[in-house]
């Protein structure tokens, strides 16, 4: 492990990669602050840049930096404008915005930065401990277990989608899987579902799809409803200092939420949003009575809790990606797509085959968090000026970068038409409250899922691997339970509300 650490440190501290971290964090903060642009859109826009660099460590370091920066930038706009750019920072606006209204915006931003730093750093430490352990277990897995594990991941995403949303999330996942079967698969050398169209021979472009699912609908929403784009009043942010008493008050909160957030982040489908809301709720419940009343009116604990938890969860979501090659969230799914394009296969072999990639990413997490604290915090008053860019300039540029991202990747103008078409469909899906992340995760996992499924079918000459391998069976039963249980519990709760007696 020590050897790995040193390799990672050596890679991460090279001049080029340091610039990548710093650049990534700055770009992420800059764009993440714009309301309506989440980390997924930003990473999707940055992917062509990362891929054309050719060096997988540098690319992943850049994208990870963008990811942290975006989360940090998102909390800045929640605090200053009450307009979270990212779902994971909605909980930060509960107490951050009241603090800003009381004229303590500088203090709120510092607390957010310190909490993010601590959450990210402790999360990265936990990642260093857990990822190697998990990948040594994962090396024992066969294709049958991989198949089952991916099914569990996909159903967990559906299960965590929320009440009344399970079927929608399931449908979106299936649609993603269906889209992944279009084109020529590696296993059969046979074009499938191309309808004779040559452009579909190689399947749908993943960057195009990612842009169409996230960046374009968000931009269209900004156009449709200008109310969501509030303008910053350009007021100076001062007094970034926090006192010793305040630091002592938030320290235990940060400690608890780093660990809790990390483990929530590891779960597929949970991620930063759930971690931040849960962190907020837990801290409010265990706070002393007089402090509980402060929550929602500008409590520093109420700000520190979600900020720590969402950053720790972001780090936690790297665990399944790096050790199993299974992304648990939309963002890590996009990262996985970028890695595959760079000829790196994340999974248990990553640590052995390409230790420099694995450890460099972990090391760059520490550096990235440090950059956010040391470099971005003092610059925040200046970066926040971006909030006063008028939307007449902002929106054409967002659309232009979306188009460029899809074009650079494929160098094909047809891809742009596909982008617009899918973007319109995705916007309609968002109107009807369909979750879009499961579609992209299904699309990215689809190829791997089918490969592993086919391999086990061939090894066992039929579907008997399902009941012959106990781990596979156990995982598949878990997957079914994950999907069925929430709807069953919701039904029981509804029956009880109506006063109908339970069966048991």
């Amino acid at each position: 492990m020590l050897e790995g650490l040193l390799i990672g440190l050596q890679t991460a501290l090279s001049m080029q990669n340091l610039l990548m971290v710093i650049g990534g964090c700055l770009i992420g903060t800059f764009i993440g602050m714009l309301p309506g642009l989440g980390p997924m859109s930003i990473i999707a826009i940055m992917i062509p840049v990362a891929i054309s660099m050719g060096d997988p460590s540098a690319a992943l370091i850049l994208l990870a930096g963008v990811y942290y920066g975006a989360i940090f930038g998102g909390s800045t706009s929640s605090i200053l404008l009450n307009a979270p750019g990212v779902a994971g920072t909605v909980a930060s606006s509960f107490d951050g915005y009241p603090m800003a209204k009381q004229g303590k915006a500088g203090k709120a931003l510092t607390i957010a930065a310190v909490a993010s730093f601590a959450g990210g750093t402790i999360g990265a430490l936990l990642l260093m401990v857990f990822a190697p352990a998990l990948s040594s277990v994962a090396l024992l897995f066969h294709s049958a277990e991989y198949f089952a594990l991916m099914v569990v991941g996909l159903s967990a995403i559906a299960a965590f989608a929320g009440t009344g949303q399970v079927a929608k999330a399931m449908l979106m996942t299936t649609l993603g899987l269906i889209m992944a079967t279009v084109g020529e698969g590696a296993l059969f050398n046979l074009p499938r579902f191309t309808m004779g169209i040559m452009d579909l021979q190689s399947g749908f472009g993943f960057i195009t799809l990612a842009m169409a699912m996230f960046a374009l609908p968000e931009a269209l929403f900004l156009v449709l409803s200008p109310k969501t784009t509030q303008q910053g009043d350009g007021e100076a942010i001062k007094d970034l200092r926090i006192t010793g008493t305040e630091a002592r008050a938030i320290a235990p909160v940060i400690g608890r939420q780093s660990v809790q957030g990390f483990f929530i982040g590891v779960l597929p489908g949970a991620g930063a949003t759930i971690a931040s809301f849960l962190g907020y709720a837990v801290e409010r419940n265990i706070a002393p009575k007089h402090e509980q009343e402060e929550f929602g009116k500008g409590s520093i604990k109420g700000l520190a809790a979600p900020e720590t938890a969402n950053n720790a969860a972001c780090t936690g979501s790297f665990v399944p990606l790096l050790t199993l090659g299974i992304p648990g969230s939309g963002t890590t799914a996009i990262l996985l797509g970028a890695l595959i394009a760079l000829n790196v296969t994340p999974g248990p072999r990553l640590m052995i085959d390409q230790p420099e990639v694995f450890w460099a990413v972990i090391m760059s997490m520490f550096i990235g968090n440090l950059v956010l604290l040391v470099l971005n915090l003092p610059l925040i008053p200046y970066i926040a000026k971006v909030l006063s860019v008028p939307r007449t300039y902002l929106i054409p540029f967002i659309l232009f970068f979306t188009l460029m991202g899809a074009y650079i990747g494929q160098n094909n103008a047809t891809e742009l038409l596909l982008l617009v078409g899918f973007g319109v469909c995705a916007t309609a899906l968002r109107f009807a409250d369909y979750p879009l992340a499961p579609l992209l995760i299904g699309f990215i996992l689809g190829g791997m899922l089918e490969d592993n499924f086919s391999r086990s079918m061939q090894l066992f000459d039929g579907p008997s691997f399902i009941w012959e391998r106990p781990i596979t069976l156990g995982l598949l039963v878990l997957a079914v339970l994950l999907v069925v249980l929430p709807s069953y519990r919701a039904r029981r709760a509804r029956l009880r509300m109506r006063g109908v007696a339970d069966g048991d």
Binding site: V49, F221, L224
Partner: protein, 160 residues
Amino acid sequence: MALDRWIALVLLSICLAYGYTAWFTMDSGLAPFMKRNPIWPSTFPKVLSVLGVIASCIILFGLEKSAEKTAEIDYRRLGDYHLGQALLLLALMVVYALCLRPVGFLLSTTGFLFLGGAILGERKWYILMPVAVCAALVVWYLVQQVLGIYMRPLPGFWGA
């Protein structure tokens, strides 16, 4: 019928068409030796089509009750929003996609950024124009020179 159920109906028909291909037409071209394989190219799509049909039926028939909540934008009042601007921008994106090759990157990008701003209501042409031109030049330089991806800068008949 609510929008989400209309969409479920559309997706159901997609799944049915997909399933029809997978179950009935796809295997006809399969080589005889492939038929001895436990797995066919159509096996996985068959499973998917069944899953998709089940999920879309659950939504279509409203079997899963969900709490009524207002989305960010209420599609029932779409007319109240800036729908015209959004549609114009989408049309502009399509035009941009069609123009990029024949007209060249610099001209089409400048036009896109300029018209995009104009559609959204910007009337200070003396700021909008230089911003659009500079942005097009900078991005072209970055993509062509730094990333090394070729993009034709000017229309073909100008010899570029």
